[in-house]
C-alpha cells in the first residue's frame, strides 16, 4: 500500500487508480497530464480568451474530436478505416434540427437524446451492411453510405436543402434543464454539461478498450480469420463496435447542433467532413485514447481560423499536417514520449541538430534526384 490514496504498486509499477475504473490505472506522469487536461477543460471558457483563442471554436474542436474518439475505436482496434463517420455526426446534428424545427421539441437534453437515437440508429443500419467488409472496401462503402445520406438531405425540402434547419423553436434557442438562458449562459451550461458527459464517455471508452471486449476487437483487427476460429462472432462484434463508434459521433453532432443552432449539410454531412474526422484521429495519435480529441481541436482550429491569419490558409493547414506526418510519426499525443526524448537529446548535444538538418536535406535532394532520373527515363527511355 502506498502513502497516497488511490496510488498502488502493480507489477512493479506505480499506478494511480481512477475511481470507477477497477483494474485500470495511470502512471504518475499520465496522472499529471490527465489532471492538467481536466483543469484545462473546466477552465477553458475563462482561459481561452486570455491567450487569444476562441473557446467556442475550441468547443467545436472538442466535439469533432469526440467523434474522432468514436471513429478511433474502429481504427485502432478493429483496424477498419471509416470514411463515413460524418453520417453519424451529421445524423446527430440533423436529429436535433429536425426535432426542433419540425416537432417543436424545445428542451436541449431531449434534443440531444434524439440526436443520439437518430445517429446511433444510422450506425446500426449502416453497420449491418458494412460489418463483413475490410480494408478499402469498408472505407469506400462507408463513404458511399455517407454520400447517399448527404445527397438525400441536400436535395430534400424536408431538410430545407443545403440552407439547413434552425435549431430554434419559434425563434428561441432551446432550454437546457428546462430553463431559459442568456446567450453566454446557454453556451456555458451546454459546455459544462457536454464536458461532464464527455468525461463519462471517455472513461467508458477507456474501460471498453481495456476489457475482454476490447481485446476481442483487437483480435479481429489483427487477424480476422483467427478471431473467427477462436469463436469470436466477428461480424456481430464489428457491428457492435461500429454502433458504439457511431454513438460517439451522434452525441458530438447533437451538441454541435445545439451550439451552432443551425445545421447545414456541408459542414456536418459531407464526405470530406468524414475525412476530417479520420484525419483528426490520425494526426492526434490514433494509438492513444485522447489523441483524436487533441487532433480534433487542432484541425478544427486550423480549418476555421487559418483564413484570418494568412492568405494561403489551405497550404498552412497542409504544412502543419505534413510536419506532423514527418516529425511526429505517431501523431501528436502518440509522439510525445519520443519527442521529449529527441528534445532532451538535442539539448544535451546541440551538435546533433546539424546532423538532423543535413540528413533531412540529403533525403530531399536524393528524392528530387530520383524524380528527375525517373522523368528522364519516362520521357527519353532507358539509355
Amino acid at each position: 500500500m502506498s502513502r497516497f490514496p488511490l496510488v498502488e504498486d502493480r507489477d512493479g509499477q506505480t499506478v494511480v487508480r481512477i475511481p470507477l475504473t477497477r483494474g485500470l490505472g495511470l502512471t504518475p506522469l499520465q496522472t499529471v497530464f490527465a489532471f492538467l487536461g481536466l483543469v484545462g477543460l473546466f477552465a477553458l471558457p475563462f482561459l481561452a480568451g486570455l491567450v487569444g483563442l476562441s473557446w467556442e471554436r475550441l468547443f467545436r474542436g472538442i466535439l469533432f474530436g469526440l467523434a474522432a474518439v468514436g471513429l478511433n475505436l474502429l481504427l485502432r482496434h478493429t483496424e477498419l478505416v471509416s470514411f463515413g463517420h460524418a453520417a453519424f455526426f451529421g445524423g446527430g446534428a440533423y436529429g436535433v434540427a429536425v426535432l426542433a424545427a419540425h416537432y417543436n421539441v424545445s428542451e436541449g437534453l431531449l434534443l440531444l437524446l434524439g440526436a443520439v437515437i437518430v445517429g446511433t440508429t444510422l450506425a446500426v443500419v449502416i453497420g449491418y451492411f458494412v460489418a463483413g467488409y475490410v480494408d478499402i472496401y469498408f472505407a469506400l462503402l462507408t463513404l458511399a453510405f455517407n454520400q447517399v445520406l448527404f445527397a438525400t438531405v441536400f436535395r430534400s425540402g424536408f431538410f430545407n436543402y443545403n440552407d439547413g434547419l434552425q435549431v430554434r423553436i419559434g425563434g428561441d434557442r432551446p432550454t437546457l434543464f428546462f430553463l431559459e438562458w442568456t446567450t453566454l449562459g446557454y453556451d456555458l451550461v451546454l459546455y459544462y454539461t457536454t464536458i461532464v458527459l464527455m468525461l463519462v464517455m471517455l472513461l467508458a471508452m477507456w474501460k471498453l478498450i481495456n476489457s475482454p471486449f476490447g481485446r476481442a476487437l483487437d483480435a479481429i483487427g489483427q487477424d480476422r480469420t483467427r478471431a473467427r476460429f477462436i469463436g469470436i462472432p466477428v461480424e456481430k462484434y464489428v457491428w457492435l463496435s461500429f454502433t458504439i463508434s457511431g454513438l460517439y459521433g451522434a452525441f458530438a453532432g447533437g451538441v454541435y447542433a445545439l451550439l451552432r443552432l443551425h445545421v447545414q449539410p456541408e459542414p456536418t454531412l459531407y464526405v470530406f467532413v468524414s475525412g476530417e474526422i479520420l484525419f483528426m484521429a490520425i494526426l492526434g495519435g490514433f494509438t492513444t485514447l485522447v489523441g483524436p480529441l487533441i487532433g480534433g481541436i487542432i484541425l478544427v482550429y486550423l480549418l476555421e481560423a487559418a483564413r484570418f491569419w494568412v492568405e494561403y490558409y489551405h497550404a498552412l493547414t497542409g504544412l502543419v499536417l505534413l510536419a506532423i506526418v514527418f516529425f511526429m510519426p505517431k501523431g501528436i499525443v502518440g509522439s510525445l514520449p519520443d519527442f521529449n526524448a529527441w528534445v532532451a537529446g538535442r539539448v544535451r548535444e546541440p551538435g546533433r541538430l546539424q546532423e538532423d538538418v543535413r540528413s533531412a536535406t540529403a533525403a530531399v535532394r536524393e528524392g528530387v534526384d530520383r524524380a528527375t532520373t525517373t522523368v528522364r527515363i519516362i520521357v527519353f527511355g532507358v539509355k
Binding site: R22, G23, N210, A219, D223, R228, F229, G231, I232
Partner: protein, 257 residues
C-alpha cells in the same frame, strides 16, 4: 464423432474435394492423420469441416452420445465461430496468431472466448481468475511460460506454431483439426511439436485430425490414416498401410502411373 458426407467443392473447373465421405473420432481421443500429395484436397477438406468454406454439396455432421443414444447434428450451415463453440477447433498451415499481442494475451484472448467472456466490460486484470488459471496451465503445457511477455510477431517460427496450437487448446476442443502443424519447423523440432500436441490432446482426450507430410511422424503417432488423392479418399485405415500398400506409396511419392 465428426463426419464428412459426400462433401464436394469446386473451384472453377477443379473439383478440390470430390464427394468425400470420412469419419473422425470413431474412438474418443482418436488421432487421425490425413496424408496425400499436394493438391489432393486435404486443406479444402479441413476448410469445409470447419466452415471456412461452404461445400457445393454434402454435409458435415457431428454425432454425440446423449442419454445413451447417438444424436446426429448437421452443422453444414453453421458459422465457423459457432462450430468452435460446438467443440470443432482448428489451426492453420500458415500461422494465424494475433501478431501485436503478447504470447499470454494471445492465449488469454482464446481462453476468454472459451469462457464466453468476450463481451465482458470488466477490465482485463479484474475478476477473470478462472481464465488466468487456464492460461497459466496452457502456457505450462506448451512450455511457453518463459516467453509469455514476448510479442507474437517477434517469436521464432516453432514457438509461433506452438502458440497457434496452444490457442486452439485454450478453446477446450472436442475435435482439433491441425493443418500441417510442423510445416516450416526445423526437422529436429518437428518431433517436439507433435509430441507436445499429442501430450496435450491425450490429457484432454481430444480427437485430433492432422495433415502431415512427414511419414515418419505419421507412422509413429497415427491411430488411423486417411489418404486423399485427386479430391477423393484413396485409402483409409491403419498406418501400416504405408508400408504394405504399393499403390499408396506411389501416390504419396507423386509418381503418377
Amino acid at each position: 464423432m465428426l463426419e464428412a458426407r459426400e462433401l464436394r467443392k469446386e473451384f472453377g473447373e477443379l473439383r478440390a474435394t470430390d464427394d468425400v465421405s470420412v469419419r473422425f473420432g470413431k474412438t474418443e481421443g482418436e488421432r487421425v492423420f490425413i496424408v496425400g500429395p499436394n493438391g489432393a484436397g486435404k486443406t479444402t477438406l479441413v476448410n469445409l469441416l470447419t466452415g471456412l468454406l461452404e461445400p457445393d454439396r454434402g454435409e458435415v455432421v457431428v454425432h454425440r452420445e446423449q442419454n445413451g443414444s447417438t444424436v446426429e447434428r448437421d452443422i453444414t450451415e453453421m458459422a465457423p465461430e459457432k462450430r468452435v463453440k460446438a467443440g470443432l477447433v482448428r489451426s492453420f498451415q500458415i500461422v494465424h496468431v494475433f501478431e501485436e499481442m503478447t504470447v499470454r494475451e494471445n492465449v488469454r484472448t482464446a481462453a476468454l472466448s472459451r469462457h464466453e467472456k468476450t463481451l465482458s466490460m470488466r477490465s482485463r486484470d479484474d475478476g477473470h481468475g478462472d481464465v488466468e488459471r487456464d492460461v497459466d496451465d496452457l502456457l505450462a503445457d506448451f512450455r511457453l511460460e518463459g516467453i509469455e511477455g514476448e510479442i507474437a510477431e517477434t517469436l521464432p517460427h516453432g514457438d509461433r506454431k506452438l502458440l497457434d496450437v496452444a490457442m486452439s487448446f485454450a478453446l477446450d476442443p472436442e475435435y482439433l483439426l491441425l493443418d500441417e502443424p510442423t510445416s516450416g519447423v526445423a526437422t529436429q523440432e518437428k518431433e517436439y511439436v507433435i509430441e507436445t500436441i499429442v501430450e496435450a490432446s491425450e490429457a484432454e482426450s481430444v480427437t485430433t485430425v492432422t495433415i502431415e507430410h512427414d511419414m515418419d511422424l505419421v507412422k509413429e503417432y497415427a491411430d488411423r490414416l486417411v489418404v486423399l488423392h485427386d479430391g477423393q479418399v484413396f485409402r483409409e485405415g491403419d498406418p501400416d498401410l504405408l508400408e504394405t500398400d504399393p499403390d499408396l506409396r506411389r501416390v504419396l511419392l507423386g509418381v503418377d502411373e
